[in-house]
Amino acid sequence: MDGRSGKKLGLKERYSLMTRGLGWDTTYQPMDKVFPYDKFEGIKIHDWDKWEDPFRMTMDAYWKYQAEKERKLYAIVDAFAQNNGHLGVTDARYINTLKLFLTGISPLEYMAHRGFAHVGRQMRGVGPRVACLMQSLDEIRHSQTQIHSMSTYNKHYNGFHDFLHMIERVWYLSVPRSFFDDAYTSGPFEYMIAIGFSFEYVLTNLLFVPFISGAAYNGDMGAMTFGFSAQSDEARHMTLGLECIKFMLEQDPANLPIVQKWIDKWAWRGIRVLTLVGMMMDYMLPKRVMSWKEAWEIYFEQNGGALFNDLARYGIKAPKCIAQATIDKEHISHQAWATFYQYGAAADFHTWSPTPSELDWLSQKYPNTFDKYYRPRYEYWAEQHKQGKRFYNTTLPQLCQVCQIPMLFTEPTDPTKLCYRESDYKNNKYHMCSDGCKEIFDNEPEKYIQAWLPVHQIYQGNCFPEGTDPTKPGFEPLPAVLKYYHLENGRDNLDFEGSEDQKNFAAWRQLTTTNL
């Protein structure tokens, strides 16, 4: 074809030449050798050309759109930084949500980039390969834009200094990390269900809407802007996830039970990770967007319900775990914040007691549970703190073998009893926080027995700085573990009350409004 004909291609023609037209079947090596991973999971694909790309985007158009978004984003990020925008947030407690985001979510964006690059390489159909390539680039862009947007906070506040080091070490960060490691080490189709469908389609609204609306509600233009800049990408990701699931189900009826099992697994894995988001919404945003329970009802029960109704024609059933999650929506945010509050000496952000008006807000939003089960706990702690006895739990908790969250969840039938589940495998005992996690373990025990559980790793002596001798008399493990985490004791951790962040924010804000 003469590239200089001057004739503009139509959209359809252009799409076809720039995507499907770029693929070929190999001849001097068999296709199965070139694409060794797209059959072993048992998913049968008869015709890769049946893949429908709803966006019909080509790479050249992709670069153009993304470049435009980047220009807008960085103009705002610069303005926010130069104008000391950080002093305009509602209250310095808000900044702790950004620490949680930067340490817990941004590294996952990077892992999503790697995952989609890998999956794109492994699928022999050209349509999904191009879509995965774009998503892979989106994800690294999200990771970068988040790091850049939040870097202004690193100049002024503690806890932003070493997120890449922390994601591989810090106890609660093993929760999001293990989620992605689990997805990344599965086959390409399971990865597509795990990330493309369960996370991007079913759960992403529960992650992004609270964070980004939370940023907007709390005066953080920088974080709000990276959220908006990612939004159109997210729409594309959701469509890819949905297209992928429909494609698998339409290709062969034998794919249905495999896909269903993955949906069940990854819905529950995702829901457990979202516990952190629930806690952020109900406790960490000084100006709240809505309660976790309300977000769950709108974005999961209503939107997710409609989605599963739509998929019912393929034989897909809504994930089994919904019943438990529906009960949990009244509890998990309170249970999670209570956990971070007491283990606040080992966290990379500050924790605090809710103020009396915040307790009232919680009572109002959770009329069935808050006063009955949680308010007395928070009031007792606040009272003790006033008397100089702030609660710091220094004994390590038991963790769930699958989601790696401390075993803090209660029985679905009784919120006063912790939920204990266990399985025996090859003469060893394994403990899980719920029926959902137990089922995941029992389906693939060989995978989860390898889990890097932070508490066990500490007891094995693997979480101290090099040269530490834990057998020395008077050895204190906690300070050594914090050093290994690159967490500065007394500065990055502990209560917000009395923290350097609190003092600096107050002093700097005063400088902007007074002459003294």
């Binding site: 072993f40 912790l418 394994y430 559980l453 094995q460």
Partner: protein, 119 residues
């Protein structure tokens, strides 16, 4: 069920007892006291007497709770993996049948936490 994988998929567990320098893990929870958000994990020598838990371990780990001082240990009930369990305090953990990564809980009748709400 086996992991579906491209080749043989078999690994050593990350937390087998040999990795804990002679200790075995024991998890301990206190029923009706959710101020402690989760059961605790401890590494103990298997020959440690069970009674040392009550004397040396529980006061430190659960000491923040005002109910701790009110416990009447003669009425306390123990559970292992959720089933009633009658440990002999003079005997070691191993002699009481406790293995690596066992989970035990105790219930202290009459004590139900702050404001009786199991906190």
């Amino acid at each position: 069920m086996p992991v579906i994988a491209v080749k043989k998929y078999e690994f050593a567990p990350a937390d087998s007892q040999d990795k804990f320098h002679g200790a075995q893990l024991l998890y301990i929870g206190w029923e009706d006291h959710l101020m402690f958000c989760a059961p605790f994990a401890f590494p103990f020598p298997p020959d440690m007497p069970f009674g040392a838990l009550q004397q040396n371990v529980i006061p430190g780990a659960f000491g923040y709770h005002p109910d701790l001082a009110k416990i009447d240990w003669s009425t306390a009930q123990w559970f292992k993996s959720g089933k009633p369990f009658k440990p002999d305090p003079a005997k070691s953990l191993a002699e009481n049948g406790l293995k690596h990564k066992d989970v035990i809980r105790f219930r202290t009748p009459g004590l139900t936490g702050i404001a009786g709400c199991c906190t």
